[in-house]
Amino acid sequence: MNTSTAYRTPLIEHHLLKMTTTTTIIDTFAEAFSMWGTRLLITAETPSWAMTSALSVTGFATSIIGCKCEAGIERAVPPEETPDGRPGVSVLLFTVKSDDMSKRLLERIGQCILTCPTTACFNGLTADAREMVDVGGQLRFFGDGYQMSKQLNGRRYWRIPVMDGEFLVEESFGIKKAVGGGNLLILGRATRDTLLATEAAVVAMREVPGVILPFPGGIVRSGSKTGSKYKTLFASTNDAYCPTLRGFAPNTQLPPEAGCVLEIVIDGLDLAAVEEAMRRGIRAATAAGALQITAGNYGGKLGQFQIHLHSLI
């Protein structure tokens, strides 16, 4: 999406020139989880409508905790690479259970792509798919018996009549075991410095194929810990990294100079992609003057994957 120069605004250049402090990278690990992932390829008459649909289908999909899935835009796809020769956008979507994937795809494609003018939706995970889930085969019933199917190269597509012509959707979408919850915590002196460093990391990480950063703008400020003093909540604010709680929190992790912490969460179709994204994120945040980079984990007791920051640098 963006190039490495895109984020080097005058503000950042100024910041880089001023930067004299080295970044401390804590010897810890990000604890990531096994998930199921898929890739949708959305096309439309114009790049703008493809992106509109992609933004809609990835909306309210920041965290599995409250959104039932995590999703994000992987990249814009040029017409030469799409099945129908139109501009496209690829989207990644992740769930905890494979059974959930069909439901989430049905909801999101049905409400956000089917509804969007001129769009079509194709399976973007073919070669390395472990299972296939039926999506177009369910959505076709919206056609009320007027739907038609076509087969090409062993894949079935449904043509559902809609008011601007037809919605074309592939019958089955590939899913595979994936990795969710890779993360970086970027600490800075103040909000502005921290935001610039984290933005630089986001730009660099989005260059990696097969990963998404599901939170708004790729960044989350409300990092969480498991559990809460309130029994009904199973997650609550990560007090160890809240600057306003430095004096209260029993186990604050903030160094004295730190005044702001931002987190980047990474979901990827495989571990290598998540690691590569984190590697690039660390480099970019370091170059942009982050005070400290660390990662969130649960002591290694919950996640299937441990990504050690020092192994990435």
Binding site: E45, P83, G85, M148, Q151, L152, N153, R159, G165
Partner: protein
């Protein structure tokens, strides 16, 4: 080991040669292949009576036929795998009942190419006769799957009663294209003859140079069918002369045939009202 058969003796009457298929020739050496039976009219003969047979290094599933085989019928009948490369013309019934693999004919083929085929791909670089991808007389369903690409012209009754699959013709086709069609897709880049889609139940026929639309078809709309872009890009990748205007163009959609179920469609490039 692949086999190369060169026609030495032109048969006086058509040769029934369903033997010429990778399924039947795989694993045989040249001598064994030469001894396989064929029917010369109503008389039994062997492959060696008409062909020089040679073996060459390569995959077992490759069969190369060379010469003017326009009197050799049923090549590749019911084949399930492999590749038959015909360097010349081929006779009637090439690839009938085919289920898999690929047949490439560098010249012309006779009638009934790909009749009632179920899968695989047939590529004809030249012209094809009548009833390509069609149903046999007395049958109910024509082509049931696979792809049939004819770079030249095709005769009448193209895809008669086809049920599934894709037929594409680079040139023109004769009368009754898609007659009694049940489903599937036919794309004709050249002119279509009279009475295209007569009696069709479902399925898609696409014409790039107009057609005489039967009175039992009704006008629906002029639009850009997304699925067609995908199919046309696929045809272009197979070497058929698909233009950018055809890929991006608007098509008039006619539905019919209303003497039947009427769920079929005839898509004609441009506004053909």
């Amino acid at each position: 080991m692949s086999l190369h058969l060169t026609l030495r003796q032109q048969p006086d009457v058509p040769l029934e040669a369903e033997t010429l298929s990778p399924d039947r020739l795989a694993g045989l050496d040249a001598a064994a292949a030469a001894a396989l039976p064929v029917m010369h009219g109503n008389r039994k003969a062997v492959v060696a009576d008409f062909f020089d047979v040679a073996a060459a290094a390569g995959t077992d599933d490759l069969l190369v036929l060379e010469g003017d085989l326009s009197r050799v019928k049923r090549i590749g009948e019911s084949m399930t795998r492999g590749l038959i490369l015909i360097k010349g013309n081929a006779g009637m019934h090439v690839g009938v009942d085919m289920r898999g693999g690929e047949i490439v004919v560098e010249g012309d083929v006779g009638d009934w190419v790909g009749a009632e085929m179920l899968g695989g791909r047939i590529v004809v670089k030249g012209n094809a006769g009548h009833q390509a991808g069609s149903v046999y007389r007395g049958g109910h369903k024509g082509m049931l799957g696979g792809e049939l690409f004819i770079h030249g012209n095709a005769g009448a009754e193209l895809g008669n009663s086809m049920r599934r699959g894709l037929i594409a013709v680079g040139g023109a086709c004769g009368d009754f294209a898609g007659v009694n069609m049940l489903a599937g897709t036919i794309i004709v880049l050249g002119e279509m003859g009279w009475r295209a889609c007569a009696g069709m139940t479902r399925g898609t026929v696409v014409g790039m140079q107009g057609a005489r639309v039967l009175p039992t078809f009704t006008f629906d709309c002029v639009y850009r069918p997304t699925f067609l872009r995908m199919l046309l890009l696929h045809l272009r990748a197979q070497g058929l002369p698909v233009t950018d205007a055809q890929i991006a163009g608007e098509y008039t959609r006619w539905s019919g045939d209303h003497i039947s179920l009427g769920r079929g469609e005839l898509l004609l490039l441009g506004d053909s009202r």
